[in-house]
């Protein structure tokens, strides 16, 4: 049981804290979890539920909002306030809630289809506005709930029910996309890596503004093994870069690292060859998103080689909801509006009885 430690989450400073210690169990509902046995969503749910107590927030001040998809059933399983809305629209609904209620911690759960297909427009605008939302994007590279069509993150040439001859769309890289959309926080983690998942959730919660967390999630029914190379203990360490602010960027096994080539581009080489000191030191707080963008391009969408996980970018930028509330308060500084004066306006005339 973890105590309600005040991590001083600045993004949550307006959200009431709980006195009572909480456990993961406090965040479970009485609803049957209706995912397929073996689905990666279970691990994420468990990870989130066990992380929640760390926030030390009153349960009633936490809200989960989702769209539609297997992943989007998430709110039903969180014993907080929650809304299972419609396909792709969760960021818009959550924005309206978050900007009006600074006392709430608002979380969004979405899928690769929900967020990047039908919901692309709301996601991109939430990111640029920097509304205080934590968006968890469960990326299984497939439409789970509608039984297995390819998604905007599916690898090129994917054979699915709707593309028997292979898909023709070049996939989005959610991290590149978010950076192009002016995101102030972007991270990536993996369903099965509880520790890293928890760290990443923590970083997202700490961030003020919109935080996008891409979570590689396995759909064992329609796209089983999509992320296996990054999970199986034989290969993962030689395929994954672990991004940690202030640390040199190397594969988990330390064999290879990222460095700046002469022409200025980011390259990967044996650490022994280039030397540890020439490795790129990760700066998640860099004002310019260009390096983060460069890092997002390292991985190969097909083989998954050189996949960075961790926080790509985490910069401070005024949040929309804060400024929104500030404007509201400022407007009322001179006193609240006088309704009678408002509706009368300036040009009136009297008709005598």
């Amino acid at each position: 049981m973890s105590e309600a430690v005040d991590l001083g989450f600045p993004s949550l400073r307006l959200v009431p804290k709980t006195e009572a210690p909480q456990t993961a169990k406090d965040f479970k509902t009485d609803q049957e979890v209706r995912w397929c046995p073996g689905c990666g969503d279970y691990a994420i749910l468990a990870g989130v539920q066990s992380f929640m107590p760390e926030l030390g927030l009153k349960k009633e001040n936490i809200v989960w909002i989702s769209g539609i998809g297997c992943s989007s059933r998430f709110p039903y399983y969180m014993n907080t306030y929650g809304m299972h809305s419609i396909h792709g629209r969760a960021p818009a609904i959550a924005s309206g809630l978050a900007m009006t209620r600074p006392d709430l911690s608002v979380w969004v759960v979405t899928g690769d289809g929900d967020a990047l297909s039908i919901g692309g427009n709301h996601l991109m605008h939430a990111l640029r506005r920097n509304v205080n939302l934590k968006i968890l994007l469960f990326n299984n590279r497939i439409y789970g709930l509608t039984k297995g069509q390819y998604s905007p993150t599916s690898e090129f040439g994917k054979v699915t029910k709707s593309t028997p001859l292979g898909s023709l769309d070049y996939p989005f890289n959610p991290v590149s996309f978010a950076l192009g959309a002016e995101a102030s926080f972007v991270a990536r983690t993996i369903d099965s890596d509880r520790k890293h998942l928890t760290e990443t959730l923590r970083a997202a919660a700490l961030h003020e503004g919109t935080a996008l967390v891409e979570i590689y999630q396995n759909c064992n029914i329609f796209n089983d093994g999509a992320w296996d190379p990054l999970k199986d203990s034989d290969h993962r360490d030689s395929l994954t870069f672990r991004l940690e602010h202030g640390k040199p960027i190397t594969l988990v096994d330390g064999s290879r690292g990222v460095y700046r080539a002469e022409d200025g581009t980011l390259q990967i080489a044996d650490v022994d060859e280039v030397g540890r000191r020439s490795l790129l030191i990760h700066d998640a707080h860099a004002a310019d998103p260009s390096v983060a963008f460069g890092l997002s391009r390292l991985s190969d969408p097909l083989s998954l080689a050189n996949t960075p996980i961790g926080v790509f970018r985490d910069v401070k930028r005024a949040t929309y909801d804060e400024m929104f509330q500030a404007q509201l308060h400022k407007a009322q500084e001179g006193g609240r509006g006088d309704l009678a004066a408002l509706i009368a306006g300036k040009d009136t005339w009297e008709i005598a009885p």
Binding site: H84, I93, H122, W349
Partner: protein, 618 residues
Amino acid sequence: MTKEVVQLDQVIIRFAGDSGDGMQLTGDQFTSRTAEFGNDLSTLPDFPAEIRAPAGTLPGVSAFQLHFADHEIMTPGDSPNVLVAMNPAALKANIKDLPRGADLILNTDEFTSRNLAKVGYDTNPLDDGSLDSFRVHPIALTSLTVEALKDFDLGKKEAERAKNMFALGMLSWLYHRPTEATIEFLGNKFGRTPEILAANIAAFEAGWSYGETTEEFSVQYEIRPARMKPGRYRNISGNVALSYGLIAASERAGIPLYLGSYPITPASEILHELSKHKNFGVMTFQAEDEIAGIGAALGASYGGMIGVTTTSGPGVALKSETIGLAVALELPLVIVDVQRGGPSTGLPTKTEQADLLQAMFGRNGEAPVPIVAPCSPADCFNAAIEAVRIATTYRTPVFLLSDGYLANGSEPWQIPSIESLPDLTVQFASEPNHTNDDGSMDFWPFIRDPETLARPWAVPGTPGLEHRIGGIEKADGSGNISYDAANHDKMVRLRQAKIDGIDVPDVVVDDPSGDARVLLLGWGSTFGPIGAAVRRVRSEGLPVAEAHLRHLNPFPKNLGEVLKGYDKVVIPEMNLGQLALLIRGKYLVDAIPYNQVRGLPFKAEELAGVIKDVIASV
């Protein structure tokens, strides 16, 4: 030289010119003075969808019509007695609406052969005799203005730009309008550029003097103040009244107002207006699109605000899916549809009533939504309050159906006292409401109030009421996901029963003689024209009854009885018969639709003719 003063009981003036000629501003000012003077009035701005179409072309003509009188009037008038045409295009576009004998004030400077050709005049109407049946006043407005401003340090173009003020001055003289407030207005508008300010005032005054001295006008007119109910008045347009109504409702409910919106003609002004009033705690959010606008509003409603979204027909189409979600969630939400000409992009700046059935049925599944419609510009205030009342009381999205005519038109409004407005205090849920088998307490989000059938509004942040809601069908009571057949049937019927059971006032029939056999039934902005037409018919000694619907869903409980009381029911609508379908389908009354879809309000004269024909046929 004082001229003869002729008393008139009413006048209809139309100002028309290029989009860049400032006709809307001129009309607005003339209207404000007229309101101040105490006439009853009604206005009709009419402008193109383009911002400023090329000068001198027909599509670029912008017009503003004002009807004012010494008695109560109901419409902006059928045909202008006076047309001010700033160029040949304005003349050509408007001349067909003028009755014989009307006054025509023409800016002769613009009647060049080039400008005439541009709009297809082969000969100059100023001298080809084609205007013989009108009282033509050819006045060189532009050069008179330039001449009046010759001592100012202004370019020719800048000087010419003041010609609308010259015209306004002249008309102000002609109709005896007060001048001070106009000068004050100019002071506010041009305060930061003193030279321009002085020039505009000079042009305005020059116009006034010109009216006084020119022989073109042999008489001056006077229209006495109208006798209206005692009280304090102001002039107000529909969009502003609607905005104020929303703010008033929020104040009376004690809950902040939140607007999530995406700009669209003719609704954008509500967004503009509301965003000025953050000092009332009003929150406005310009979203990325219509779907986000309503989504954010719904999110805010979920958080305990009065969520509102404003749009026009195409925006409603986009919001349909989210409206369905609001129906399923049973949360308060006001959807304002300022209707415009359709289908598709249609006629963005013109009026129409063709979204009624979209509002009724434009969603998947059985998704009933109450509908409220204002009947005049000022009435938008009350209708907005009523929409909020229904939304918060019954926890439901509500449609508020305004239209382009109401939105931009204006009329005098007797300012209500705040205390006279309804108390809209809302009770949020604060306690668990369900006892489990083991005696413990729980919160069930879908337990209903036995009277209103509304579910509790339990706002995040309330301890102990944590719950989940969603768009999937839910079990009655607990709100958990349920695919059960009987439960679904029950929930569909419950949602319908809740809307059907909304407490709406009875419809009032106006049938002074009591022996009318024909009833005119209307809704929305046809109120004015129908009322004016009915008056005309009655003034000819023919009895006719009239009823106007504020509530389109549910209908007032007495409506069926009312309809049965007449031999014929006529329903005039600016669509192809949408209310008529609903009335016929529900009450099996052989209602006669009378329809025009011209982007403009009905003309009273024409409607009167229709009524007389029907009376004759009974």
